[in-house]
């Protein structure tokens, strides 16, 4: 079952002025598409039972993947999983703040929404080079973490993950912000809060807790 590039749930220019149309289009049609194509190239070489898995399932089973395909799939199935989720977590109609159970869980864990945003931003700023910042659920608890490259929190720690379920993620590869924000990653992180789809975060929290 080959992976497919999912359509974006909004137009390329829908997140302007926070995320610009050119970045969104390149990010989706070039970067994400390349991960899908590269993952599919490696997928063909896998044993039948691994080929049946979803990308999310596959990245949790990298230790079962033959070594010759493991790094390619860690990077590219990882990239496919991360980006597919990222698009769902963005919306032009963001409420700006969480609601529902995830709101109380964030307040309980971090003290306040503002403290949470600050800690999440620190994880995003502190990731040296390419990677992601995440809010995850692990053993029913919220945690902030970051991963390098295209590692997913779903992966085991052996592969840079956290054996945890991501419910919010921010891509801090330079391709995600360089055209608009240049080297000023903190401005990109601030802009992100305007386009977070908190309904989707709540849905994912409900499923993961």
């Amino acid at each position: 079952m080959a992976f497919e590039l999912p359509a974006l749930p909004f137009a390329y220019d829908a997140l302007e002025p926070h995320f610009d149309a050119e970045t969104m289009e390149l990010h989706h049609t070039k970067h994400h598409n390349t991960y899908v194509n590269n993952a599919n190239g490696a997928l063909e070489k896998l044993p039948e039972e691994l080929r049946q898995l979803s990308a999310e399932e596959l990245v949790q089973k990298l230790d079962s993947v033959p070594e010759a395909q493991r790094t390619v799939l860690r990077n590219n199935a990882g990239g496919h999983v991360n980006h597919s989720m990222f698009w769902q977590l963005l919306t032009p109609n963001g409420s700006g703040e969480p609601s529902g159970e995830v709101k109380s869980a964030i307040e309980q864990k971090f003290g306040s929404f503002d403290t949470f945003k600050e800690e999440f931003a620190n994880a995003a700023k502190g990731r040296f080079g390419s990677g992601w910042a995440w809010l995850v659920v692990k053993n029913g608890e919220l945690q902030i973490t970051s991963t390098a490259n295209q590692d997913s929190p779903l992966m085991s720690s052996e592969f840079g993950g956290a054996n945890a379920t991501p419910i919010l993620g921010l891509d801090v590869w330079e391709h995600a912000y360089y055209l608009k924000y240049r080297n000023v990653r903190p401005d990109y992180i601030s802009a992100f809060w305007n386009v977070v789809n908190w309904e989707e975060v709540e849905k994912r929290y409900q499923a993961a807790k």
Binding site: L26, K30, F128, S130, A148, N149, E174, Y178, R182, N183
Partner: protein
Amino acid sequence: MAFELPSLPYALDALEPYISAETMHHHHEYQHRNYLLRLNTINAGSPYASESLESLIMSATGERLACAVEAWNHSFFWHCLSPWSNGYSVDALGRAINERWGSIDAFKDAFEQSALALFSSGWTWLVKMQDGSLAIINTTASDTPLKQGLIPLLALDMWEHAYYLDYQGNRYKYIQAFWPLVNWEFAAQNLTS
């Protein structure tokens, strides 16, 4: 001793049309400077404050190491590029390249393949190994040939910030733009010095 941003050995627009002035401006004035500012901030008042970049590369860890590596790499990289590139010549470096790869074209192919194989932020290098032979290697965050005891001759920055404004995701075009800018004289000096 606080680190200061070294000047570029040419004007910001000197590498056009291969690398734009805007890319060079952000790369040098902000990216490179930022690594040094971060180092100055975290080193202030610490036992590391008097150490050179080379020394930090060998002894530091974490953010201090990552910033020292990137700062050193960028200082080196600016000299690998030149608007006055006088082309490749078969001097001592040329002979060593021919000996290792057979021809300059075969070397370029191998260097390009190595650069394209880098998945994320990193660098591609031509280095002199401890036994004197040449090799092409990639490094990622917090690593650099010096740390491995190797002598760097030539570097190409493959972080997205190095090419995204000019070439977006087309890394192949960026690598092709690198060749006309290579300062072979600098690389040859690194081999013999």
